[in-house]
Symmetry: C2
Subunit: 161 residues, 2 copies
């Protein structure tokens, strides 16, 4: 339960877009998407979600706390793996329906598969895919930062098919 809330009521487009009023929009599931990037090099590390409680606690603590859709619970990132995300800056977008976190990651990795970033594969596009019916992803990271089997042990894999 949230005792207090930092969130203001959304009243006008001008208030939401052009003022200093903090009035984030949570979707029909009560969630707001969050983009998390590395403070030092700008790399996109992951994309997750927060509910009101997670966003409130993240702001208070200064460490990233997401809402896990697969586990249906708050998820203090790094509590199991040690890969805590220390927040350096929080931004909100124009219509206040997305949060951008700029973080330093303890341990230098933020992906449960073991890579530095969750976005460790690129997708071919443009002229190179003309007349193709199948795309082959390319790994942009070649070595894992940690061994997920050792770190997470018997925790279930969060990926859903």
């Amino acid at each position: 339960m949230i005792k207090k809330t930092f969130f203001e009521e959304r009243k006008t487009i001008k208030q939401v877009e052009e003022s200093t009023s903090f009035a984030p929009k949570f979707d029909e599931n009560g969630l707001i998407p969050v983009v998390t990037t590395d403070y030092k090099n700008g790399e996109t590390l992951m994309q997750g979600y927060m509910n009101k409680e997670a966003l409130q606690k993240t702001i208070e603590l200064g460490e990233a706390i997401y809402y896990s859709r697969s586990r249906k619970t708050l998820w203090h990132k790094g509590k199991v793996s040690g890969l805590i995300q220390i927040i350096k800056e929080i931004r909100i977008d124009d219509d206040q329906d997305c949060v951008w976190l700029r973080v330093n990651v303890q341990g230098g990795s933020s992906c449960h598969v073991g890579y530095r970033s969750c976005f460790y594969r690129s997708v071919p596009f443009g002229k190179s895919v003309e007349n193709k019916t199948k795309l082959v992803l390319k790994f942009t990271e070649t070595e894992k930062v940690f061994d997920p089997e050792k770190v997470y042990k018997n925790s279930p894999n969060p990926t859903k098919l």
Copy 2:
């Protein structure tokens, strides 16, 4: 209608996370979230959504085509404003339910309010918000790149309360 598709069936977690198979996951509304950052400085510009057709066309064209949830239609970013996003790299995340676009923006702006990035305000956090009940956003951009009233003329504002 999509005649061909680049997307493979999602069969196993190993295939999705550890292989070169491109098998993106679209949510219950048929959408996948997209994070768009500036290729040159790494700044997060916007967060949007694509449906299958938008992602297929984006890959083929090499320019960002989103799905507008407010207008319920494909949205070739920049077709009205001239602020086309030229794709330099496309990444997919570990469980393939999020796309990261690295782009060069024609005109140097990607926000309908007129700023360079949609994330032009920061949210205070940590010690500075102790005992606060209201947060005051801080503008991180002080000047608009363009005047939205001149560029979009009578187009309706996409922000929903």
